[in-house]
């Protein structure tokens, strides 16, 4: 009976370790995506700012005024760059936390301890022959070592993770909430800046061609289709916010011991969408 209960609690501990591992893997993928997104937000901000400056320049004749406006924009963007650098540094810190969780869930200590324990039994057998073959039920001591050690290590991993959760559940919850707030602010800026880029580069020429006196370009309708597609594509920037929300909800469920496979699957799907977005952004710059 005692063995049965021990096996059951060991299996539950193994499940917790497995879920923690999946959760941490998603946390790492999420944290890894933040820096490229932040970099992209800055590129979009500078592009949008340059478009505004260029447009205004046409109607400002005084070179002194022009210079002062450019300096002011540069100052704002330099300030932004410093804040974004701090946000990126913090994303790396959050990554380190998830890596530390994974180091526990993925440790090979179980195999190492199993080998070491087997060696110990061998040594004890030299002192007291027959100990390795001694039976517990229908199994010998040697046969019990590996599953026993694995369950014990899982129980320890589970205990270590639970202790960490009880001590720092609120800290990590706050951290993810702040990352979500940062990504929401960045997403809204990226959306507005990308909309401006599409407006200036795609929609304004379409508008001017139509309202002007000349003949419409042959691909005018095609240009309109492309413009609509571009506008829709902006929605993908929101993936980062969705992934942050899912990560926070999963963390809360994890801390309250109610994280299930459905939530983990949802988190994995949203994280993968975010990773795909980052890949797309990187491909566009290469």
């Amino acid at each position: 009976m005692v063995v049965f209960i021990a096996v059951l609690s060991g299996c539950a501990a193994t499940q917790v370790v497995k879920e923690s591992d999946q959760f941490a893997a998603n946390g790492i993928a999420f944290s890894d995506s933040i820096a490229p997104l932040i970099d992209e937000s800055f590129v979009l901000a500078v592009n949008a700012d340059s478009m505004v400056l260029a447009q205004a320049r046409e109607n400002i004749t005084d070179s002194g005024v022009r210079g002062a406006q450019l300096k002011q924009s540069d100052k704002h963007l330099e300030t932004r760059l410093k804040i974004l650098r701090d946000l990126k540094r913090h994303a790396y810190l959050l990554r380190s936390y998830f890596v530390a969780i994974r180091a526990i869930t993925q440790t090979d200590a179980a195999s190492g301890i199993t080998e070491a324990t087997k060696g110990l039994v061998d040594q004890m057998a030299k002192l007291k022959p027959g100990i390795a073959e001694a039976a517990i039920g229908e199994k010998s001591v040697s046969e019990f070592i590996e599953p026993g050690v694995k369950l014990a290590v899982a129980a320890y991993q589970n205990k270590a993770l639970r202790q960490e959760l009880s001590e720092r559940a609120d800290t990590i919850d706050r951290e993810i909430a702040l990352q979500e707030a940062a990504l929401t602010a960045i997403y809204e800026q990226m959306r507005a800046d990308k909309e401006l880029e599409i407006l200036v580069k795609v929609r304004n020429p379409i508008f001017s061609a139509y309202t002007g006196q000349g003949k419409l370009p042959n691909d005018w309708s095609r240009q309109r289709v492309d413009a609509f597609k571009l506008v829709i594509s902006i929605d993908s920037y929101e993936d980062a916010v969705k992934a942050a929300k899912a990560l926070r909800q999963s963390w809360q469920a994890f801390a309250e011991k109610r994280l299930d496979s459905a939530s983990l699957l949802d988190l994995t799907r949203l994280t993968q969408e975010l990773v795909a977005l980052v890949k797309k952004i990187k491909a566009e710059h290469n």
Binding site: T61, L87, A100, A116, L120, N204
Partner: protein, 116 residues
């Protein structure tokens, strides 16, 4: 409305205004105005742009400051998990050490059995 919501709504309005002042329709309308009016409109556009930057920086700086305030606790968590991992690896070292001692004991027992 909380201060952060006010900032958010103001930012939204500023962005909409900036983008509206960059449309071809707006620029066409400006062409019919005098040079002074066009310059005034251009300066207004830059004012909107500048206010937008300032507010966005303020929103992000608020979040950054809160993240920094959370940093020590996060670092403690990383250190705590590292210690837990060390403890786990320590078990293997202890068992190996005990094994080595037992190996020596076994040799001594064998020696005593054959020589005494």
């Amino acid at each position: 409305m909380s201060p952060s919501e006010v900032k958010k709504e103001t930012l939204k309005t500023l962005r909409q205004t900036r983008n509206a002042m960059m449309t071809a329709a707006w620029m066409d309308a400006l062409k019919k105005k005098s040079a002074e009016e066009r310059q005034e409109a251009a300066l207004k556009l830059l004012d909107v742009n500048s206010a937008m930057h300032e507010l966005q920086n303020s929103v992000l700086a608020d979040i950054r400051d809160k993240l920094i305030a959370n940093e020590a606790a996060l670092l403690n968590g990383i250190a705590g998990l590292g210690k837990a991992l060390d403890n786990l690896n320590q078990v293997k070292k202890v068992i190996n050490s005990v094994g080595k001692v037992l190996d020596v004991v076994a040799k001594v027992v064998k020696f005593v059995a054959t020589h005494v």
